[in-house]
Subunit: 193 residues, 2 copies
DNA sequence: GTCTATAGGTAGATAGAC
DNA sequence: GTCTATCTACCTATAGAC
């Protein structure tokens, strides 16, 4: 049963706002983005937009949450290795400079304590690293990976490299094949003892 | 011959301003930092500060340049391998959260085209990666490293990991030994092929 | 070199009409 | 749901006095 009447309109507009907001935040970062600008792009006044999200912060956090939800809804879930999922995520990112820019800008912002995104990213990294480390452990138990590998170290390095490559890729577009690089790294790491 | 009279005072104040500015920019990022705030910390009015650096942008770029100059002035130059220098830089960073925060925030900012730091960081990465790749090549020629390694790939991954680890370290302080991690990576990479 | 004062902006958020 | 109008709170940069 689809929502109807006033609800449908509200939900659709909300979605439209989130799309526009993601794009503008990605392009300019949090501080340089004004609610007015996002409003303009969705054919609303600033006050009109703030009817749907009562503060700029709320809108911003919603954008971050939706970005994550979408990643998880996509085919990533079908890959049992979270290492595979990471690689596929990197591949997909190579086609979405906007999202990458959003991610880089926001994760760096979150490193500032005052940032609204601090909690979001701190938690995000904790579970991401944990998931990958856990995955490495499972494959060590089944004998697919050498027992000598350090699961936390591997997870940390893979994620770190993925993040750092994004920055290089944004600054010098076309100079880096992120997918190839991260696969090289994985091959090197899994052969370590 | 040292500068004297009014010069000495000017230079000293300039330095004091740069120190304060580095700290505040590191803590809050470029946009969230006001010239007034930096002025307050140095006992000046906003206009008084802008006597030394005529715009906020100029002050900011000066902070970035000085950070780099200091790195290079330190003992890093004495290490012939630029890979070694990278590792030592990572070690030193582990004791300077402020500088790391500045670097992470500013490099991410620079990924936005509109950023004043865009040119600075794009160029910085170009020579940094180039220097390391070149270094790998030299050691391949002398037989110290296997000929099969991809110099650009190695350089890119080392720098990417260093950057990404900084982010993890800032978000979850104490959870990552950056130096140890980057050495693990280097060991893994040099054994590839 | 440093100040006060101010010009000229832009921001987020609110009030109240429709 | 959406608008216009407005408020308050900053901001950078400049002018001109000391």
């Amino acid at each position: 049963m689809a929502a109807r009447g006033p609800y449908a309109k509200g939900v659709a507009k909300r979605d439209e706002i989130l799309d526009a907001a993601m794009e503008v935040f990605a392009q300019n970062g949090y501080d340089r983005t004004s609610v007015r600008e996002i409003a303009r792009q969705t054919g609303l006044s600033q006050a009109g937009l703030l009817h749907h999200f009562s503060t700029k912060e709320e809108l911003f956090l919603e954008v971050l949450r939706r970005r994550d939800d979408r990643s998880l809804d996509s085919d990533e879930r079908s890959h049992k290795h979270s290492v595979d999922r990471l690689m596929r995520a990197v591949d997909r990112n190579s086609e979405e400079p906007g999202l990458v820019r959003l991610f880089v800008a926001m994760s760096a912002e979150s490193a500032q304590d005052a940032s609204v995104a601090h909690g979001f990213f701190a938690e995000r990294y904790r579970w991401l690293l944990d998931e990958i480390a856990q995955d490495v452990r499972v494959h060590q138990a089944s004998g697919e990976l050498p027992a000598g590998l350090d699961p936390e170290g591997i997870a940390s390095l893979l994620v770190a490299a993925a993040d750092g490559l994004q920055l290089q890729w944004l600054l010098n577009p076309g100079s880096v094949d992120m997918g190839a690089r991260i696969r090289t790294l994985w091959e090197a790491l899994r052969k370590t003892t």
